[in-house]
């Protein structure tokens, strides 16, 4: 197994006769990876396989060359944030982190110092000695993140880490994820909120019915879906002119004027050819173009195409 990637080879997990995930083969690289899928699709099972909390019924899992069965080596490099509000009874923010670091074998003084650093990183210094049971939902999410991060792991597996955070908290957390990814870590984030995944992740893994339906950079995934024409939104001063010229191209299947009166939505079977022709169309028609945007190169749209459920799965 490759010591530089997180790999699953034909990994399956069955709970008796119930399918968790089926024959998953994946190679995850450093950066922010979004794991998306509806409830019961197998996201959490996949995360549990990566963190060794579940053993595959079949196949192999390797995290940077370490088999998940080797808890001592695995959890030196992996930090896991569960989706549940689960804390030992009576724990304070500080004791929660100190305890985790002690389990990692850090001496008391080192664990204390590191705990305070992590509390500062997630903005909980003032609440360090309060019981977690009294924390708000957002604070609990942040202490869980600090808990996953405190031993400085290279791989972070975060199950629904943005749940319950207010917009400001979400923005702070997303910024933190991006910083962690920029350090060369593997940050694997599961979420139901597709547009958020779309905005922050370098790559996505789409899971449905226990199987991976697509993985990779979202643009590349979208390019692979040849059955669905690609949508391009052109915002300009005379959208009718662009629409008229677009109709003359063989690969364009639809040109629709948008209600705002300043845009046209083109659906084409050959995006590269369309982009190549667009320059000529602009010059020939003399329109002033404001923006040209791919309209369905998003996790949301791709997910809808692949699973047949347009919109945000919840």
């Amino acid at each position: 197994m490759n010591p530089d990637t997180i790999s699953l080879r034909d990994a399956s997990k069955f709970y008796g006769e119930v399918l968790g995930v089926n024959r998953i083969t994946l190679d995850l690289k450093p950066g922010l990876t979004g794991l998306v899928g509806p409830n019961g699709s197998g996201k959490s099972t996949l995360m549990h396989l990566l963190t060794g909390l579940l053993r595959p019924t079949r196949g192999e899992v390797s995290v940077l060359g370490v088999p998940p069965a080797d808890a001592e080596r695995l959890f030196r490099i992996v930090g896991y944030c569960t989706q549940y509000d689960s804390f030992p009874a009576g724990a304070t923010g500080l004791s929660f982190l100190r305890h985790a670091l002690a389990l990692h074998g850090q001496a008391a003084a080192e664990a204390e110092k590191r705990s305070w650093e992590m509390l500062a990183a997630v903005g909980l210094t003032d609440s360090a000695r309060r019981r977690i049971a009294g924390y708000s939902k957002g604070m609990r999410q942040r202490i869980k993140l600090a808990h996953a991060l405190c031993h400085s792991p290279r791989v972070l597996v975060l199950d629904e880490p943005l749940n319950g955070l207010d917009p400001m908290g979400r923005a702070e957390m997303i910024h933190l994820f991006q910083e962690l990814a920029a350090e060369g870590r593997f940050v694997i984030v599961s979420s139901h909120i597709l547009h958020e995944v779309d905005a922050i992740c370098d790559a996505v893994v789409m899971v449905h019915g226990g199987s991976v339906v697509a993985e990779g950079q979202i643009r590349a995934v979208r390019g692979e879906i040849t059955s669905q024409p690609i949508q391009v939104l052109v915002r300009c001063d005379r959208p009718q002119a662009i629409a008229a010229r677009a109709f003359t191209l063989d690969h364009v299947v639809e040109a629709k004027l948008v209600d705002d009166g300043a845009s046209v939505l083109i659906r084409t079977r050959d995006a590269d050819a369309f982009y190549a022709s667009l320059t000529d169309m602009i010059i020939e028609s003399g329109v002033t173009v404001e923006t040209v945007l791919p309209a369905d190169e998003s996790v949301d749209a791709v997910y809808g195409y692949l699973i047949g459920q347009p919109g945000v799965p919840t």
Binding site: G31, L53, G105, R154, A182, G184, D202, Q217
Partner: protein, 286 residues
């Protein structure tokens, strides 16, 4: 495509040995247990039988004090097998309540709060987790039971002079082995029940109920069959008989001591199996 520099640095400091890492679980659980004043007060009370024993041993060897109290050396000279057997019982009963209170509070809250994945996503496994919790019970229950018992035995041996300790070695054996068996069996049973029911008060009730139900079941079988076969399921009698045998006294069970040992081993093994089944990082709801 994003470009990432490898700026991440792992923790490079010293770490404690892996083998003793389960003691971290123990340390935090101990701190949590003794954060209750009521529990601490009860724990202190569990030492009273031993302190009374200490007083009796002291007074029986202090001729001056005996004279002042109008007592004779003969009256207090009977600190032999019976004295130590009664003291054992006085230590074992509060120790049982100690374990019955403590054991359910060790695992049930973690399971009820779904906190197990937090432990198991650290460099410890289920065995370390159970070992850590068992160590709490061992460390808490040992001082007022076998540690104090052994100390009293040694004190009595030193006061009585050479030969007493050698002649009565079974007392020391009974205190150490008897209490350890008591601690292991009741601790495992308590932890297993709390892993099963996941609710502290219910676990406490279930532990008492199980002991009484098993004992009543055993007695009923004995009554119906007119034999001692029901003692196989009589947990309290099994422990009592094992301890009596260790003291070299006649046993109260109608079954051979080996059968009593097997009963205790079976209860311990079943408890371990329940813990193995119930303590999982991840629960599947079908």
């Amino acid at each position: 495509m994003a470009v990432y520099e490898r700026a991440w640095r792992p923790y490079a400091g010293a770490v404690t040995p892996v083998r003793g890492r389960f003691l971290v679980v123990t340390r935090y659980a101990l701190a949590e247990a003794f954060s209750s004043r009521l529990f601490t007060a009860f724990y202190a009370a569990c030492f009273l039988p031993s302190l009374l024993g200490l007083f009796l041993i002291y007074i029986s060897h202090n001729l001056g004090l005996l004279e002042q109290l109008g007592l004779t050396r003969e009256l207090m000279g009977g600190l032999t097998l019976t004295f130590f057997r009664i003291l054992f019982l006085w230590q074992a009963v509060p120790a049982f309540f100690l374990m019955a209170i403590l054991a359910p509070s060790l695992i049930a809250p973690d399971l009820a709060n779904s906190a197990l994945p937090l432990y198991l996503s650290r460099p410890i496994d289920r065995r370390d987790y159970v070992l850590g919790k068992l160590a709490v019970l061992f460390l808490v229950v040992s001082p007022p039971t076998w540690v104090m018992g052994l100390a009293l035995f040694l004190l009595q041996a030193s006061e009585e002079g050479a030969g007493w300790g050698l002649r009565n070695w079974r007392i020391a054996l009974a205190y150490v082995v008897g209490h350890l068996v008591w601690i292991v069996v009741i601790s495992l049973l308590g932890l297993a029940i709390s892993a099963w029911v996941r609710f502290r008060p219910a676990a406490l009730g279930a532990l008492f109920a199980l002991l009484f139900v098993l004992s009543a079941f055993g007695s009923a079988i004995n009554g119906i069959t007119g034999t001692s076969i029901g003692d196989v399921a009589h947990l309290i009698r099994a422990i009592a008989s094992v301890v009596q045998h260790l003291f070299g006294a006649p046993t109260s069970s109608g079954m051979p001591v080996l059968v009593n040992w097997c009963t205790l081993a079976a209860v311990a093994l079943l408890s371990v199996l329940v813990l193995y089944r119930k303590l999982r990082a991840h629960e599947v709801v079908r």
